[in-house]
């Protein structure tokens, strides 16, 4: 299996006035294509910072991050947006769907920025919603959907441009147990189909579905198995 994510001695320091906070301290991590990883750790352990760096939403203070063999340092904002669009799908704890916008249109958003024509966008969005079991909710707005359904729309949005990597930040955090399990099943299915998944969670029974669990503590990888 080839390497998708390679982090070498990644540090992230937040400076605020006189005080500086080391959020990540010398992270080394290799993620191969097709892996399913859960990142766990207490709040403040650096999980979200690590996720933002892998998702190209944030820059490390030092260290090298290679995504799919490409060093991401010194890339322009515009180019980073392109890479996020093509290679990464985000799933957030709070879904982040646009209100007053149908499921179909919500799922289409990444394709707009990929420059896909409108008919193809709608067709691919429909297909993605079908994959998460929402073929009958195409025109529903977020406020007409349950939390679990909203998160499935968000997963369809993450999938629609066929990215290599799915980054999920506490995807079940706002859901009841049953809906959470449904979401986890979808992630497992996606992983069987070959998607690489990195998921942040603090729930042990969610993390146990992953093939590898990485525990963060104080910005360092405490254990990996």
């Amino acid at each position: 299996m080839s390497t998708l994510v390679k982090l070498t001695n990644i540090n992230k320091i937040y400076v605020s006035g006189e005080v500086s906070l080391k959020a990540l301290a010398g992270i080394n991590l290799v993620v191969k294509k097709g892996e399913y990883i859960a990142i766990i750790g207490a709040s403040g352990s650096g999980k979200s910072t690590l996720m933002n760096i892998i998702g190209l939403l944030d820059h490390p203070t030092s260290g090298i991050y290679e995504l799919d063999g490409q060093n991401t340092a010194h890339l322009q904002e515009e180019r980073l947006a392109e890479i996020r669009n093509q290679k990464i799908g985000f799933v957030f704890q709070s879904f982040n769907l646009l209100p007053r916008t149908s499921a179909l249109d919500n799922v289409s958003i990444p394709l707009i920025y990929a420059g896909v024509s409108k008919p193809e966008r709608l067709q691919r969005a429909k297909q993605a919603l079908d994959e998460v079991g929402l073929a009958d909710k195409l025109q529903s707005h977020p406020n007409q959907l349950s939390g679990g359904q909203q998160q499935r729309v968000a997963i369809a949005r993450a999938l629609v441009n066929n990215p290599e990597l799915i980054l999920a930040d506490e995807p079940t955090g706002n859901l009841d147990t049953k809906s959470g399990e449904e979401i986890i099943k979808i992630f497992q299915k996606l992983n069987w189909e070959g998607k690489t998944i990195i998921m942040i969670t603090h729930e042990a029974n969610i993390a146990k579905h992953a093939k590898r669990i990485i525990r963060l503590k104080d910005g360092r990888i405490e254990s990996s198995r």
Binding site: E77, A81, R84, F90, I109, Y113
Partner: protein, 396 residues
């Protein structure tokens, strides 16, 4: 993301907040409406005056007291020293080259039975007036030289005077009271129109000597000179200046050709257009500030949306364009509504005054409103484009 689609989604965003959007564009609507309306009034005024002047004929020269185009203001300030003898001098010396006709004017109250017409303009003119100025007589006739010489109390009345005093009844051969003296109506003029509430048809024409005696007038308001041919106009102007210059100083009279009158008027209306248009343009700028305000609010409200869009691949330029196009769409809608209102109002007012809506004023008002959208939309759009996606996604 192509322009048309961005505009579509901008429209969706605007329609999602109908009331707020409406209030936001109100400033632009009022600005564009007033630009178009004011320009249509001024250019209507210009069209009217120009057609009046051209209707008099291009061979015409007008002598008025005071100086136009000099350092001092015309008329008013200095005493009027133009007298009937000046008209006689001109007539004698320009014989064969031009016709000369003198005129005086006063305002007076006219009465017929129980009806009155206040503030009508009484013109004392010579019998050759119709040969010098092209006027249209719809009923009866103008007075003859013999009637003028014997200062007969006869009058030719304008259509407004006729309708004020006689309603739809017969006017010819009726006796009317002009500031206390009786005059017999011998003719009625065709309509000339009104502009800005000044009614050119509320006037009567009586023999020069009759008016001179009745009102005790010593000075002339106008001497009309009609050159035989259009080519002679410049020549006649120089000669007239020479003749009048013997008795009067340079700034006591002006001999003006129609061409000069027109250019004076277009200068005046040009200044009016700029002044009124400028005032209206200020309300466009105020409208632009309103748009900027609401776009800044919108950026704050939609911070999470911006963060999400950036996370899934929107470039800063995509976000910037989205908000810029939204601002321009807002101001553009305001511009279109303003154009419709402006043209509509100008059409309604056109039933009372002459109004014309020049295409350039519509183009100017619309492009100015779009420009305002761009200028005041840029700052909020750049703010949106610069948002940090992590911060934006965390925004409550």
């Amino acid at each position: 993301m192509d322009f048309l689609e961005t505009t579509q989604s901008a429209l969706t965003a605007i329609l999602a907040n109908r009331m707020r959007s409406f209030l936001t564009i109100l400033g632009i609507v009022i600005g564009v409406t007033s630009v178009i309306l004011l320009i249509s009034l001024v250019s209507g005024l210009q069209t009217f005056i120009t057609s009046q002047i051209q209707g008099l004929g291009s061979n015409l020269l007008i002598v008025i007291p005071g100086r136009i185009g000099g350092a001092r203001s015309p008329g008013g300030v200095q005493a009027n020293r133009l007298v009937y003898q000046d008209a006689i001098n001109l007539r004698n010396k320009l014989d064969g080259e031009a016709d000369v006709s003198a005129a005086i004017q006063r305002n007076a109250t006219l009465k017929y039975g129980s009806k009155t017409d206040k503030g009508a303009a009484v013109f004392g003119v010579e019998a050759n007036y119709p040969e010098v100025i092209s006027i249209k007589i719809t009923e009866g006739r103008f007075f003859r030289q013999s009637e003028a010489d014997s200062s007969k109390k006869v009058a030719v009345i304008g259509p407004t005077v006729k309708s004020n005093l006689f309603a739809s009844g017969k006017a010819l051969n009726q006796t009317i009271d002009v500031a206390g003296l009786k005059y017999i109506v011998i003719g009625v003029l065709g309509p000339r129109g009104a502009v800005f509430g000044i009614d050119f048809d509320n006037s009567i024409y009586v023999p020069f000597a009759s008016a001179e005696r009745q009102f005790g007038i010593e000075n002339l308001n106008t001497i009309y000179i009609s050159a035989k041919t259009a080519e002679d106009v410049k020549d006649v102007q120089k000669r007239a200046q020479g003749i009048l210059g013997k008795r009067l100083s340079e700034d006591e009279f002006t001999v003006q050709t129609q061409e000069q009158t027109l250019s004076t008027i277009s200068q005046i209306t040009g200044v009016l257009t700029a002044a009124l248009g400028g005032i209206a343009a200020i309300s466009l700028i105020v409208g632009g500030i309103g748009i900027m305000n609401i776009m800044l609010v919108s950026v704050t409200e939609r911070t999470r949306e911006i963060g999400l869009r950036k996370a899934v691949g929107a470039k800063p330029s995509d976000i910037r364009n989205q908000f810029l196009i939204e601002a321009v769409t807002l101001s553009g809608i305001g511009g279109i509504i303003g154009i419709i209102l402006g043209i509509g109002l100008s059409f309604i007012i056109g039933r009372f005054f002459t109004t014309t809506v020049p295409i350039w004023s519509v183009a100017l008002a619309f492009s100015f409103s779009m420009l305002v959208g761009i200028i005041f939309g840029v700052a909020p759009a750049i703010r949106a484009a610069k948002l940090d996606p992590i911060e934006a996604l965390r925004h409550e």
